[in-house]
Symmetry: C2
Subunit: 511 residues, 2 copies
C-alpha cells in the first residue's frame, strides 16, 4: 500500500471509529443507590441546616430577592441584606418542586428525563482555557467554543450540548452569552443550558430559546436551565439571584449549586460541610418556588475538600466522593433531582492522576444516582482548562458506564449449555457458530484502549492513550456535520444575535 | 539553600512522605454490597452450573483427584479423566467450607480477616517483567523480587506480601519457590501465599511455613494459601490439582480461580460465562472439602471478556466489572469468601488508560465486597509486567479507598454550628481555631497528586504523576528496614532453602 492509500485507509478507519459506539439514549442506574448515611444521620443534617437557615441566616444581595423572601414570610434585614428562614416555610416551598421533569431539546429524540434513577451526562462548563496536542494550551476563543460544541454533539454519551463551554476571549464580554446560544443551537440539537449572570443576559438566553421552541417554554418540560452557584458560605450574590429569578419566572430548570471547599468555605468536617451545603441549596430551591411555584429545580453539589497544604481545591478525593453520595441522598430525602459532577481532577496533564481522580468522581456520582452529572468530560487543571484529548478519554469511560448500566440478557437462550457441552472441557469458543455470529456486538466495543502486546505497541510507535485520543477528536471535527436547523429559524436566531450584539456594545450588563 | 542542603531537605521530605499515610488495618466495606442480579437470576446461574457439573462434567488430570471424587460418590471415567458431579454432593461439600477465616501473618498485627464485609488488598502476582523509570522494562530477577517485597511491605494498604510477585529469571526454575519463601518471610512480616505447582513445590512452601509458625498451621486460621487456576473450560490440570490437594490437606487457604475470557474460554454471553465459572469454582472448592472437610476455601474469579478484534484479554471493561459483581454475589449465595482483582489493565505504559482500567476493576471489586482483591497494585500490560511507578499510584488509590471506607465522624460536635455562626455569611474558615487545630488530619492526605496550578507545575519541571511516583519508590527502597525475624528462625529458614536448593538441582519438579 502506498502512503496515499494508507492515509486514506487510516482516515476511513478513524471516521468509522468516530461514528461507531453507543446510541444516544437516556440512562438509568437499574441498581440500588449507594447510601452511606443512615436515615437518622440524614435527619440530623436536615435539622442542622434548618438551624442554619433559622438562626444564622443567609445573605441575598438583591433587592427583589429580599422582597420575595419577606412576602413569603421570612424575616428580612434589608440593610444587612440578611434573611432568616423558618424551617416550615422552607420545607413547604421545597415540596412544591417536581421530583422529576423532562429537559427538552430542539430535537425531541434528545429530550432527557431528569430525576429518579435517571442519569445524564453534561459537558464541562465555565472553563477558561482549551488544550490539545495540536495547539497546546491557549485561552478559549469563539473557534474553540465551536469545536467543543461539535465534540459534545458528536458524542452519543453526552446528553447536553452544555453551557458556557469555554470563555470566548476574542468576543466582547457583553455578547458572549449570545454566541453560546448561536453556536449551541446551530451546531447541536441537544438540550443546552443558558448563562445566568444577571437579568439581562438571562432574558437574552430565554429570548433565543423562544426563537427555537416558540413562546411556550414549559409545556412538556423546560427547554433550558441554569446553574446558580452560591458564594459559600451563605451568600447569594446579585448576578446569581438575577439569573435564578429570571429562569424560575420562565419555568426553566434552576440547578442550585453551592461550591464548597471544606476547610475553606465551611468548617473542616463532613457533617458541618454537608449541613451548610444543604442549607444553601434549600434556600435557593425555595426561592425559586416563591418566584414560580412548581419550577423544576435541581439540588446541586460541588463540595469537596481544600488541599490543606496549599489551600487549593482537591478534586477526585474520598471527601469529594462522600459529599457527592451524601448530597444525592439528601436530594432523595427532599424529593428533588441531584446534580453531581463527573470528571473532576486537579492534574495539569492528561496523565494517570487526571484519569484516576476523574474515576473517583464518576463512580460515586453513578453509584449515588446523581441525575445530572456535569463536567462529565474534558476537565483538567481543576476546571481551568478543557483538554480535547481528555474529553475523548472521558467519553470512552461514559460509554463504558452506559454499557455497564445496560441490561444483561438473562434469557434462557443466553445460558448456552448446549454450546458449553459441545465445546467440552479443554476446547475453545472462538470458532463456534454462536461466537462467530455475535462477536461484533457481544461486548463493549471500545477502540480507544490499546490492548496490543508490548512488542506490537512498540512497533506502532509507543502511542499512549493521549495520542490515540488526539487522532479521534481530529477525525470527529473533520467529519462533523451540523444537525439541520430550519433556515428561517436559523436566520431569526442570527438576526437576534446580531441585533443584541449591537445593542449591548459597551453596555455593562451587571449595573 | 545550597544544592547539598536542598538535596538533604528533599530527601527528608520524601522519606517523611514515604513513611506517612494510613495505618495498617483490616478493612471493611460498611455499606451494602452492590448486587446486580436478582435472587432468581442467581438461582438460575446455580442451576445451570449444576447442569454443567452433572451432565457435561469436568476433567481432572490427576489420579489422586479422580480417586477422591470417586470415593466421595461422583461418577468417574478414569481413562478420560472425566468426572460428573451430582448437585447435591457439591452443595453438601461446599456447606462444609467456613464462611470466613483469619489469615495469619508472622506478625500477628498483620493478621487479616477474610470473609463477610472484609476487604483486603493483595499485591500483583505471577508477573514476568518489571519496569521502572530507572532501568526500563526487563525480565524479573531475584533482586527485583526483593525490591517488590520491600515495596509491598512498606505500604500499609497492602495486606499481604504476595505470592510469586515476579518470575526470578536468574534463579533455576526448580528453586524459585524456595526464594519466594526466603524473601517473603525475611523482608516482610505480612501473610504470604505459596507456590502451588504440584506437590513437591507445595510441600516445600508448607515446610517453610512450619519453620516460621511451628507445626500447627491451622489453629487460629491458615498461615498461607494458594491460588488454583482452572484451565477453562472445565479442566483442572495435574500441577494445580497437586497444589490444591497438598494445601487443602494442610488446612491452608485454597483460592479457586477460573480464568475465563468470555468468547474464548466460554460462550460469548454473561450468563453462560458466569455459569461456567461457577461450575468450575464449585468443583474445586468441593474437592478441597473432600480432601479435608472445613478447609478454608475462597471462590475466585478472574473472568473478563476477550477483545474480539484481537483475541487478547480485555481488562478493566464493563463485562469484567459485571463478572466481578456477579461472582461475589454467587460467593455470598454459597457462604464462602470471594477473591476479585484490583488493578487490572491492558495498557503498555502508565498512562490514563492504565489508570482508568484499573479503577474499572477496583471500584466494582470494592462495591462487590470482594474479600481478597488480588493484583491490587502494580499491574501493567495485562499482567505481564509490574511497574514500580504504577504500584505507587495504585497504592495511593488503595489508601484513598481505605479512607473512603472509613467512618465519617457523625458526632454532634462535628456539626460545628457555632463555627458556622461565628464565621457567618461571606467569611472563611481557613483561619478558625477549629480548622487550625484539625487541618493536618481532617482529610485524606495524599501527597502523590499534584494540585499546584499550571504555572507552578511548569516551574516545577512539568512532572507528571509517573515521575513523582518514581521519586516515591526510590525513597521507600532507600529507607527500607526489614522487620525483625528471630536470628535462629532466619538461620533455619536459610538452611532449609539451601538444603532444598541442593536437593532439587536438576530435578524436574513436574514429572
Amino acid at each position: 500500500m502506498d502512503s496515499t492509500k494508507r492515509r486514506a485507509a487510516r482516515r476511513e478507519r478513524q471516521t468509522k471509529e468516530a461514528k461507531s459506539g453507543p446510541k444516544f439514549r437516556p440512562l438509568q442506574n437499574p441498581w440500588p443507590a449507594l447510601e452511606i448515611a443512615s436515615p437518622e444521620q440524614i435527619e440530623r443534617v436536615h435539622q442542622a441546616s434548618i438551624y442554619i437557615l433559622e438562626t444564622i441566616g443567609m445573605r441575598f444581595l438583591d433587592a427583589e430577592a429580599l422582597s420575595l423572601w419577606e412576602a413569603a414570610g421570612a424575616k428580612v434585614d434589608y440593610k444587612a441584606q440578611h434573611v432568616w428562614i423558618d424551617g416550615g416555610l422552607v420545607t413547604d416551598l421545597i415540596r412544591q418542586a417536581p421530583d422529576s421533569f423532562t429537559m427538552r431539546a430542539r430535537n425531541p429524540l434528545r429530550d432527557i428525563p431528569i430525576g429518579g434513577n435517571h442519569i445524564s451526562f453534561f459537558p464541562c462548563a465555565g472553563v477558561v482555557n482549551v488544550s490539545n496536542s495540536q495547539v497546546g494550551r491557549q485561552q478559549g476563543t469563539e473557534a474553540t467554543y465551536q469545536e467543543l460544541i461539535k465534540l459534545w454533539q458528536a458524542s452519543n454519551v453526552i446528553h447536553f450540548a452544555g453551557m458556557q463551554a469555554v470563555a470566548m476571549h476574542d468576543v466582547p464580554v457583553s455578547c458572549r452569552h449570545l454566541k453560546t446560544r448561536l453556536h449551541g443551537h446551530t451546531l447541536s440539537d441537544k438540550a443546552i443550558f443558558g448563562v445566568s449572570h444577571g437579568r439581562i443576559i438571562s432574558e437574552d438566553c430565554l429570548a433565543a430559546s423562544r426563537i427555537i421552541f416558540g413562546d411556550d417554554l414549559t409545556t412538556g418540560g423546560p427547554v433550558t436551565g441554569c446553574v446558580i452557584n452560591v458564594n459559600s458560605p451563605l451568600v447569594y450574590d446579585d448576578r446569581m439571584l438575577g439569573g435564578l429569578i429570571t429562569y424560575a419566572r420562565a419555568g426553566q430548570a434552576v440547578v442550585i449549586t453551592p461550591f464548597i471547599l471544606s476547610g475553606a468555605m465551611s468548617p473542616i468536617t463532613i457533617p458541618a460541610t454537608i449541613a451548610q451545603q444543604n442549607a444553601e441549596a434549600l434556600a435557593g430551591m425555595a426561592l425559586a418556588q416563591i418566584v414560580n411555584p412548581g419550577t423544576p429545580v435541581v439540588y446541586g453539589g460541588f463540595t469537596t475538600n481544600a488541599d490543606m497544604r496549599s489551600g487549593s481545591p482537591a478534586f477526585g478525593t474520598p471527601e469529594g466522593a462522600w459529599a457527592l453520595l451524601l448530597g444525592t441522598q439528601l436530594a432523595r430525602y427532599y424529593g428533588v433531582p441531584y446534580r453531581g459532577s463527573g470528571s473532576l481532577n486537579t492534574a495539569n496533564s492528561v496523565d494517570a492522576q487526571a484519569a484516576y481522580e476523574s474515576m473517583w468522581t464518576l463512580w460515586p456520582a453513578v453509584q449515588a444516582h446523581a441525575n445530572i452529572i456535569v463536567h462529565a468530560a474534558g476537565w483538567l487543571e481543576s476546571g481551568l482548562t478543557v483538554s480535547y484529548e481528555k474529553l475523548i478519554i472521558d467519553c470512552e469511560n461514559l460509554a463504558m458506564m452506559q454499557h455497564f448500566l445496560g441490561n444483561i440478557n438473562w434469557s434462557d437462550d443466553a445460558f448456552l449449555l448446549d454450546m458449553i457441552q459441545k465445546v467440552g472441557p479443554g476446547g475453545h469458543h472462538f470458532a463456534t457458530p454462536h461466537t462467530q455470529a455475535n462477536y461484533r456486538t457481544a461486548f463493549f466495543d471500545g477502540t480507544l484502549a490499546d490492548r496490543s502486546n508490548y512488542e506490537r505497541w512498540l512497533d506502532g510507535g509507543e502511542k499512549d492513550i493521549v495520542q490515540r485520543a488526539a487522532e479521534r477528536w481530529q477525525a470527529i471535527l473533520r467529519d462533523f456535520e451540523a444537525p439541520k436547523l430550519h433556515e428561517s429559524v436559523q436566520e431569526e436566531l442570527e438576526g437576534f444575535v446580531e441585533r443584541r450584539t449591537q445593542e449591548l456594545q459597551g453596555v455593562s450588563l451587571y449595573d
